[in-house]
Subunit: 759 residues, 2 copies
């Protein structure tokens, strides 16, 4: 029986440690802590990441989120034997993340080599109420006989990113014989991390403190009698010198955080947990998608997506954005990609628009760097980095790892060629404005981003001497198996769309707020630029369906060789095709890593009739290996555009398995954030049929057969709605009385507080 | 039954991993590799150290020997289950270091969770013949049924020094689908390490190569049938940019080492092992101490000492010396202390004088730094660093770890106050000359060292206004529980002795080689200095026995408070007294960490009659906690000076247990090098009664009752001897016909090729 709120393991296995560590990560957007066990195992990979604390560890290393000192480990010695599930016997076992409350809990009965049984419960959460707070609780009950117990726990700064150490040790102290404080500093970016922790132990045990190199530990020891329960609570607070609250003042953060931990001296795990789970409750009320279905797995997968989007997003600080693996692992080094704007941002836009705005503010803050990058490549405007970290500089490594056999370095072209990110960000700005109606944002930031993106496209476009059209040459589209191509359909349409909208928005501004328009015009040179923008939109080459109705992915794609990709699609191991073919060979085939033309159809469905969409979907799907986690959910949504709900549902289920599937190693380096965002997209923009057209909401639900009902919250232009849809009807409710114009299944309605469309 | 050649464990236990890793370390003076298991365990600490490759890892870190990339790990998957002795059942188990051949071998029968049994043999050695070579061999036999086996092994550069990473990754490559090469560079000292390795597998298995972050691995996989044996040999070569052979030319070491590993393509583990074990055979022939005793443990302990002195000593390069933990762990950070000259050098002096000379050359190479240190402290001459590493700079941290409770840093005074190291080095130079007769060394280096040491003492001494004597104030003697004292007896006598000898040596040089004398005189200012040296020796205050016959350790020691130290002596945990008393309180007590006045008696036994030695021995022994491993063996030797062979033997046995005792954690950070040297001292200078007086050999054996016979080799003034002694006689044999004057039990003899003194 699936419990839609629980990610769980019912059997201990070393093999799945990478998976459960990532999937059951606890977090709150400020920090993420992988779900490593309290006790150590070879191969276990603890991970503790704090948003924005990027560091570059020197020669040949790339800026990444460092793995900070651990507070989750407990070394437990019972009757002089180290507690490990590899030893003795495990009689009952359950290990689960409760996504409803954000608590990780492991319950088991362990029999040691002396045939004594112990009931052990391990609990842990990262507070959603106080973003600096982490709490653990361990209880050990001697079921058969008394036992001698020794436990060591504290702060362990020996953690590395796969062997790379990012920190200097600054200080380790014990205050008042209770509070441990450890301060570490990143080696290059000089971010200080302040870890504070203390233990509460019942019954009274002996205690002492020890230091080892890069460790500060408390050891407690004593006897538990038969049926007695030993309880240890560990309360930890973590701050960094990046924290916004310290920006203005010259706070001694060591002292400040020590005061804060002292304030928690009399707090309990449970009491602090109540506060955190209340915050989780608030979150779920605002976000939960309810699916009535015979298969609870879908609900579980959707909850999993939402849970992770909540813990991966740095709500607290607009200087940071969402990393491709969230805060769940070392993969992609904590860098920010187009994933944020195209795959994750819509969830926030439709449930928590403040956060969506903040994610766009991150791009605005880094606009200057994007302009510098454009200049460095001889363009104008803003060329956003393909991979972004703390300061908006391009973080994509120029070369991938050297080919170990040839010794040749594979050039990574994404930073230079995957320029569709400029349009992706502009698209998100426009979508944000359409859905939120937040003109204040547009006036203060959004329009400026759009103008700089427009300038980039104008400077990037070349005139084709034969046709006189503008063409965009030598790019990489969303599909990264196809490089150095001209006129990628996705890119050209996105450029055209965003630049057209930019022109419209500025023209509207001119008439509604001429003062601001003039100010912006001076700053951005609109007098000169807007005519260029218009010229661009008129002359940009937009590929059309060929005689068979197939829209070319780019100028040459359709003329490339076609191979049978079956074995690569079925394979569990990613990029299997690169074992049989070189990268260059793959570039010359009609083989896609991920949705590209289909990605285009997803965003531009109204440009084509459903027959064209259908034809293209089948054409391209048969050539797509789905070696990217960004692919499957988009295929699900687009299949719905031509009514194929069964195929859509199959794609959706595959997308849900990207992290939740049986491959024990697919998430070792972290969950797939964009894919989780895409699961939400598939539910709401896909089956729920939600879209917007120039600021007008449209709902065209099409549920899979196994779904009896789909219910979800939406915020649209400031109005909070609930949408419920099933075979019989679609129902919209709102608590506010503002009128909202809405199209349901293509028909226009005015929604006040309630609307029900029966079929 | 003890096998005197085997350090072994007959039962697998996680708890003793730190101990066996250090004790069973393999090495050859160039490199040391801790005896970590092939498979991973939580808490296992792999260690691979190469002499001289010191690096400082940045802020708040101390220069240390870095832990280089590992080549010993094998990840073994049998029937989809990771091989670990924590899982399944272990039916037979033996794990042993054979010190006679330098091979580490583990044999076991493992039953996996599918109830299949496998006979597994793991072998490994570091070549004593080719110092760059490390070989492993694994064999797996399926005893019950066939099985699927996957093994990954290669080069793993994720190793750290307790979380501190010392390396940048420079390159990882696979050549000719076989040879793996990994290049890493220390972050500050820019030493490049070149690791080259390949696997040979029988029968033919599938193979492939993979890279992970900081890892380069080969994976082999296949099926072994019942009774079939899978054999994997791994041959590795390691070079560094420090290697002397590359100093002169501009060699591409990557290419060079690749050629070298290719040359070994057709070599086998066994064939290369034969060469290495022949070198071990040669070593033992030159060094073995044979003890006929009812208790084989003594022989084991002595072999253990000799084995480790052989693998810890960088014979290949006079720019390096012996670290306090050899190359067996992170303890003392690979630094060189007085331990080398006073505790380890005599072994080489009496068995392999070329190495003894080389260890002194290390000091000569760093003489300029010692002179700079003297100047910086307002002295003249040479003030050698208390802790020395690559360039002879003082490496002692100025502060010990901050007291975690008070937040106050404990000042470490050793660098400034433990100046007896200046005399210790001079003493070793003189002893070297006396025993080897190597006047070439004295002329080219030794005399210069002595003169600079002499200058230091002259500049350090102050005139006592009351007595007119020279006093040496505010020092730390060998006993580090006593700080800031005046006229430490050990220090004053050592200064007097070394400066007197220096004067004599220069006077002798004047008459035998006036040309060189004049040259040195000009360089060293002897015209001015020698009168100062004489004046120093005449007026230096040398403490004498008081009315009770007790020689004061320093000016104030005998007036300090006496406490009962019983509980601290018995305790297994070091420095227990510092849990009850502050450091300052301990300084004000008659409590010794280690031999100090007794250390003095050890070196100056002829200055006092045996009654005085006895009285002082008992007085000081009762106040010594032996919290230093440098203590117990010295007490053993000095007890023999007053004929107490039983007590001496008890002390000797305790000294043998410093590493070989039952405490599973006492050697985690590495073996105790000085203590191992002292075990040799106790055998040869103690029970064997070997000493020298101004270049004349003296032998006064006194064996413990349980020893029937003691036989050992000696090299004295170029003549190779064997000494055999028992209750009935002492016998000396030599292969050379040169006449050697020797005192046996106080009586003078002339040894040609054979001499037997019957009792």
């Amino acid at each position: 029986m699936i419990n839609k709120w629980r990610i769980e393991e019912t059997k201990f296995s070393e093999k799945t440690s990478g998976k459960h560590e990532a999937l059951m990560t606890l977090g709150n957007g400020y920090m993420g802590i992988r779900a490593g066990f309290e006790e150590d195992y070879a191969g276990q990979c603890r991970g503790f990441f704090i948003a924005g604390t990027y560091n570059k560890a020197g020669l040949n290393e790339v800026t990444e989120l460092p793995n900070i000192a651990d507070v989750t480990a407990f070394d437990i010695i019972i009757d002089n034997e180290r507690f490990s599930l590899l030893m003795g016997k495990v009689h009952e076992y359950s290990f689960a993340l409760d996504m409803k409350t954000g608590e990780l809990k492991r319950e088991l009965i362990w029999e040691n080599s002396g045939n004594k049984r112990f009931k052990m419960i391990f609990r842990r959460y990262v507070s959603l109420e106080n973003r600096h707070l982490v709490c653990s609780k361990i209880s050990i009950e001697a079921l058969d006989e008394g036992a001698e117990v020794k436990i060591k726990s504290g702060i362990d700064a020996r953690q590395t990113n796969s062997g790379v150490q990012h920190f200097y040790e600054i200080e380790k102290r014990v205050y008042e014989d209770k509070f441990m404080q450890y301060i570490q500093r990143t080696t290059e970016s000089s971010v200080d991390i302040y870890l504070n922790t203390f233990l509460k132990v019942k019954p009274d045990f002996n205690k002492s403190f020890t230091i080892e190199r890069r460790k500060l530990l408390e050891e407690i020891s004593g006897i538990i009698r038969k049926k007695e329960i030993l309880e240890i609570e560990k309360i930890s607070l973590v701050y960094t010198s990046l924290d916004k609250e310290f920006n203005a003042e010259n706070t001694d953060i060591g002292l400040y955080s020590l005061e804060k931990i002292k304030e928690l001296e009399n707090s309990t795990y449970d009491e602090l947990f109540q506060k955190s789970s209340q915050s989780w409750k608030d979150f779920w009320e605002k976000s939960e998608i309810k699916i009535k279905s015979s298969d609870e797995f879908d609900s579980l997968a959707v909850n999993f997506s939402l849970y992770h989007m909540q813990i991966m997003t740095p709500f607290h600080d607009n200087r940071f954005s969402i990393a491709a693996k969230g805060l769940t692992g070392e993969g992609y080094k904590g860098h920010v990609f187009w994933d944020t704007e195209i795959f994750m941002l819509p969830f926030f836009l439709y449930t928590n628009p403040k956060t969506a705005r903040q994610l766009l503010e991150y791009r605005y803050i880094n606009l200057d760097e994007a302009k510098k990058k454009a200049v460095s490549k001889n363009f104008r405007g803003a060329l956003f980095p393909w991979e972004s970290a703390f300061d908006g500089k391009e973080e994509t490594p120029e070369f991938a790892a050297i080919n170990i056999k040839t010794g040749k370095a594979n050039r990574v072209w994404s930073a230079e060629k995957e320029i569709h990110i400029v349009a992706d960000i502009a698209y998100a700005v426009i979508e944000y404005f359409h859905v939120s109606g937040d003109s204040e944002f547009m006036k203060s930031m959004g329009l400026e981003i759009l103008a700089e993106c427009g300038k980039f496209w104008v400077s990037k476009a070349e005139t084709d001497p034969e046709t006189g059209k503008y063409v965009i040459k030598d790019v990489i589209g969303p599909d990264e198996y196809t490089e150095h191509i001209d006129n990628n359909t996705y890119t050209n349409y996105m450029a055209e769309y965003t630049v057209s909208r930019t022109v419209e928005l500025f023209e509207k501004l001119k008439s509604t707020d001429n003062g601001l328009y003039l100010k912006l015009s001076e700053k951005l040179g609109l007098d000169k630029e807007l005519p260029l923008f218009k010229d661009f939109t008129q002359k940009i080459y937009l590929p059309k369906p060929d005689k068979n109705g197939i829209i070319p992915q780019d100028d040459t794609f359709l003329s490339k060789k076609i191979i049978d990709i079956g074995k690569y699609v079925e394979s569990d191991s990613k990029q299997g095709i690169l074992k049989d073919y070189t990268r260059d060979e793959v570039v010359d085939m009609q083989v896609l890593k991920q949705a590209d033309l289909v990605m285009f159809l997803y965003l531009f469905k109204d440009k084509f009739n459903s027959e064209i969409i259908r034809k293209n979907w089948y054409y391209y799907e048969s050539k797509t290996i789905h070696d990217s986690s960004l692919s499957m959910a988009i295929h699900a949504i687009t299949a719905l555009y031509f009514g194929e709900k069964d195929i859509a549902y199959k794609c959706f289920q595959k997308a849900c398995l990207i992290d939740l599937g049986s491959n024990p190693n697919s998430s070792n380096d972290g969950i797939h954030a964009a894919s989780l965002g895409a699961v939400w997209l598939a539910c709401i923009k896909g089956f729920g049929g939600v879209s917007e057209n120039n600021g007008v909401l449209s709902i065209n639900p099409l549920l899979p057969d196994v779904w009896e009902e789909l219910e979800f919250p939406l915020v649209f232009r400031g109005k909070g709605l609930r949408v419920k849809t099933c075979k019989e009807y679609t129902e919209l409710t709102s608590k506010s009385d503002d009128i909202l114009e809405v199209y349901i299944n293509g028909k226009k309605y005015e929604l006040k507080d309630y609307l029900k469309i029966s079929y």
